[in-house]
Symmetry: C2
Subunit: 111 residues, 2 copies
């Protein structure tokens, strides 16, 4: 039971305003969470897809952070406008969105 | 990066008192969440294990609910006193704790 094909976790952590680490909620991650729910509903994917908000997932500087299991694909800087692409290309199509991968963002920051 | 061997998600959802669905937080799931963090710290497993609280995971009646990815093992009725067993037997030992599996709880309820 609860053998989801994709379980989407969106960091919705909020820190006090001005906290040096920042947080995903102040970067609209709660709207991202809601958008994933809406797009799952729109595609009638409940049953094979679950969507949850979480406490701090760790990489705050590149938030909003999203991780999708069981494949363990991590995304950063996910905006509301990116959600449909992740749903279509990754969740439905099976191919992660390369430009939003946390690893891609870290590699770009080190160049 | 962030290729955790086990990512533990604990439902910490709270509903208003008296809500008919109940919730995991009123069944001490936040203490369960904290205990998973403490036991991960005690075993020096940060790096290979992550622990997060989540919004409602779904099976409220059998909460506190815990799901561990990437294996996708779901637990129900997890108390603070169960956490060390899950850490030792499942997270370290690789064998899920049968008596707490959500499927076991559902099967027992149907007998």
């Amino acid at each position: 039971m609860f053998n989801y094909r994709h379980h989407i976790f969106v960091c919705v952590n909020q820190r006090p305003a001005g906290h040096p680490k920042g947080d995903c909620a102040s970067k609209q991650s709660r709207a991202v969470f809601q958008k994933f729910q809406e797009e799952t509903e729109k595609r009638q994917l409940w049953g094979s897809v679950a969507v949850n908000g979480t406490t701090c997932l760790g990489p705050c500087a590149t938030g909003p952070t999203v991780v999708i299991y069981p494949e363990g694909v991590w995304y950063g800087k996910v905006g509301v406008d990116d959600v449909e692409e992740i749903m279509d290309q990754h969740v439905v199509g099976g191919t992660p969105v390369q430009r939003l991968l946390l690893q891609t963002l870290v590699d770009e920051a080190q160049q």
